[in-house]
């Protein structure tokens, strides 16, 4: 007898992808702002982390706006990691906008417009707004999946209060989020009618049973009273840019012709600034200056720098953090040389944090953290070899080898990455130095090698 196989219903539980800095959870400081050697994914760089901690406190206080910080250091010394650490410690309520210096060069928008938008994205306004919510106890959820397994699901949700009961039709998105939240009969939930956001308040008292196995965090709440649909005041944070966009959209049918190319008129901005200040004075809103992080800041040109000079003086300005790996170099858009490719007058306003290259011990530690993050087991010798590679080539290259060696190891059905696996990938993938060496040796056989020499000289 062949048993029929029931197709598995796959639920959407998010798999977190691993990014270059996903192991960073904070700056790794204690309460006295003293950096711990290894903490929250951060290793070493004690002085610069401590400095970042001071900046962090400054941001958290929220009183100081319009300050700028520059994180400077060699490639692969943790500049972006420190910025990410600041972002993580600030928490979700403080706006943190990150962009790369080259992102602002667009044909649709002027450079200064892109910069002002970035500035305004980094300033949050916490404001009360009335929204319509549905609050009730779940009586029944019924979700019908089509027999074929594909196509739209149909769902019904019955909610009740102490006084009434209503049946709702569910859309696809709603069904997904209900199953993601694992809502079941007896839960008391609220649904934001506009956004469809669900929050579970707890289990209803009437459903409490002695023999039910409950998690420790299960809360019991009363069934809500009165009407199911209520108007409630909720506090939420929006960025100034979002308010700009809402108010700059052309009303009515003219919106069809205007398109969304994105330049926002300065009058709109002024109006909104005035309105926000008014709200703040009336106590309706609170301004949260956030952080704007510009990576690869040497990619900005002279006009951008002079704009920054001016923008930092405005009272509605976030804390600006920039990072660069350049030394004394040409300022883009001019023929002048300047430290970090930033004009002296702007440099004068900056607090500069320097990062230094990692020591061998620190490199070892970072590689270990990355191995944990990427779920790769490393044998002791392999770890030592990898650390050497990291010291001799670059940390980034060594980190790249972790995942590739992990894959090679899995292919030979091993559980722990051995020295051989590292050797294998080391021979398969060139690091920067070996690649350059290779170029020098075999330059003649590459295409366009006649012009190569001339081009190389100028760069």
């Amino acid at each position: 007898m062949a048993s029929t196989k029931v197709p598995e219903v796959r639920d959407i539980t998010r798999i977190e992808r691993i990014g270059a800095h996903s192991h960073i959870r904070g700056l790794g400081l204690d309460d006295a702002l003293e950096p711990r050697q290894v903490s929250q994914g951060m290793v070493g760089q004690l002085a610069s982390r401590r400095a970042a901690g001071v900046i962090l406190e400054m941001i958290k206080d929220g009183h100081i706006a319009g300050r700028a910080v520059l994180i400077a250091g060699q490639p692969g010394t943790g500049k972006t990691a420190i910025a990410m650490g600041i972002a993580q410690s600030l928490g979700p309520d403080t706006p943190f906008t990150a962009l790369a210096g080259s992102e602002i060069f667009s044909l649709e928008m002027s450079k200064t417009e892109a910069l002002s938008q970035a500035f305004r994205k980094a300033i949050g306004v916490r404001i009360k707004e009335e929204t319509e919510i549905i609050e009730g106890e779940v009586v029944e959820i019924q979700i019908d999946r089509p027999a074929t397994g594909t196509g739209a699901k149909v769902g019904k949700l019955t909610l009740k209060t102490t006084e009434m009961e209503t049946i709702y039709d569910l859309g696809n998105k709603m069904i997904d989020s209900l199953s993601k939240e694992k809502v079941q009969a007896g839960d008391v939930i609220t649904i934001d009618k506009a956004t469809g956001k669900i929050s579970k308040l707890g289990r209803s008292f009437t459903r409490a049973r002695d023999y039910d196995a409950m998690g420790a965090q299960t809360q019991f709440v009363q069934c809500p009273e009165g009407e199911l649909q209520k108007r409630k005041e909720v506090v939420h944070t929006v960025s100034l840019h979002e308010i700009d966009v809402i108010n700059s959209r052309t009303q009515g049918f003219l919106a069809l012709f205007s398109g969304d190319t994105g330049e926002i008129k300065s009058e709109v901005r002024e109006q909104i600034n005035a309105k926000v200040c008014e709200w703040r004075e009336e106590g309706k809103a609170e301004i949260i200056p956030g952080v704007l992080f510009i990576d690869e800041v040497h990619m900005l040109d002279m006009e951008c720098f002079s704009f920054l000079n001016r923008a930092l003086e405005s009272d509605l300005s976030p804390v600006l953090i920039m990072a660069t790996n350049r030394g004394i170099t040409r300022i883009r858009g001019t023929n002048y040389q300047s430290p970090h490719g930033i004009p002296i007058d702007l440099l004068d306003r900056l607090l500069i944090i320097a990062t230094s290259p990692y020591t061998e011990k620190e490199t070892r530690q970072i590689l270990k953290i990355r191995c944990e993050e990427e779920d790769v087991e490393l044998s002791e010798e392999a770890h030592t070899v990898l650390t050497r590679i990291g010291m001799e080539t670059s940390l980034r290259y060594a980190i790249q080898l972790i995942s590739t060696a992990g894959l090679v190891c899995r292919k030979r059905k091993g559980t722990e990455v051995q020295v051989e696996d590292i050797k294998r990938v080391y021979s398969l993938f060139l690091d920067e130095a070996r690649s350059s060496q290779y170029m020098k040796e075999y330059q003649d056989s590459f295409l366009f090698n006649e012009t190569q020499t001339a081009a190389m000289d100028t760069s």
Binding site: D169, G171, E242, I246, T250, Q251, G252
Partner: protein
């Protein structure tokens, strides 16, 4: 005195009138940015529709909120259908006035008449409909009385149930009646654009 001030607000509003479809349609733009639309039957001068729209604090254009008349069909809000909406078997609440009374009709109520109780809650300035079988509950205020700051009177309230519909009636007080008379006279003086487009200013 209080009802006078609402009249003043109405008078100060920017009004646009249009006669279309046997209805006199009036658009009010108030000084605080709120918008109101009223539709009157040309023959009987009865109010058919009154709806409101205002911008949220952030400046988002809101949806029309219907005070009097058929609720808007959700065809316009197709994006919202992806989220959640009431099942069509649920009770439908709407207000439909007559000359001398405010009237609310709730359709799709399949329960016997004796489960319903309708009463005035003076402390919250609203009327409450309750069912003893806990299936339906509605709390609503009478916007006209609120605007004119008139008290709610329990004796003016009555209700009936027939054909799965609950009809709640509240007799209009004489202040409201005179106010409506006056407003109607005012509206008839407005030069209404007959048929076709209203010349709207290009932005």
């Amino acid at each position: 005195m209080a009802s006078q001030s609402w009249m003043d607000v109405l008078k100060s509003a920017k009004k646009t009138a249009l006669i279309h479809d046997g209805k006199r349609k009036i658009h009010y733009l108030f000084t605080d940015g709120k918008e109101m639309v009223e539709e009157y039957d040309l023959k009987t001068d009865e109010l058919i529709v009154r709806k409101w729209r205002h911008k949220s604090t952030l400046g988002v254009q809101g949806q029309w909120q219907v005070e009097v008349g058929e609720p808007l069909t959700s065809s316009a809000s197709t994006s919202a259908s992806d989220v959640i909406k009431e099942n069509c078997s649920n009770p439908i609440f709407m207000r439909k006035d007559t000359k001398n009374s405010f009237q609310w009709r709730i359709r799709n109520l399949f329960y016997p008449e004796d489960v319903f109780s309708v009463f005035v809650e003076p402390s919250e300035r609203c009327i409450i409909i309750k069912t003893s079988n806990k299936k339906y509950y509605k709390k609503f205020s009478v916007a006209d009385l609120d605007r004119s700051q008139l008290p709610l009177d329990g004796s003016a309230l009555s209700f009936a149930h027939a054909n799965n519909t609950l009809i709640v009636t509240y007799k209009k007080p004489k202040e409201i009646l005179s106010l409506e008379q006056e407003l109607l006279k005012e509206l008839k003086k407005l030069k209404a654009t007959a048929e076709g487009d209203v010349d709207c200013k290009t932005q």
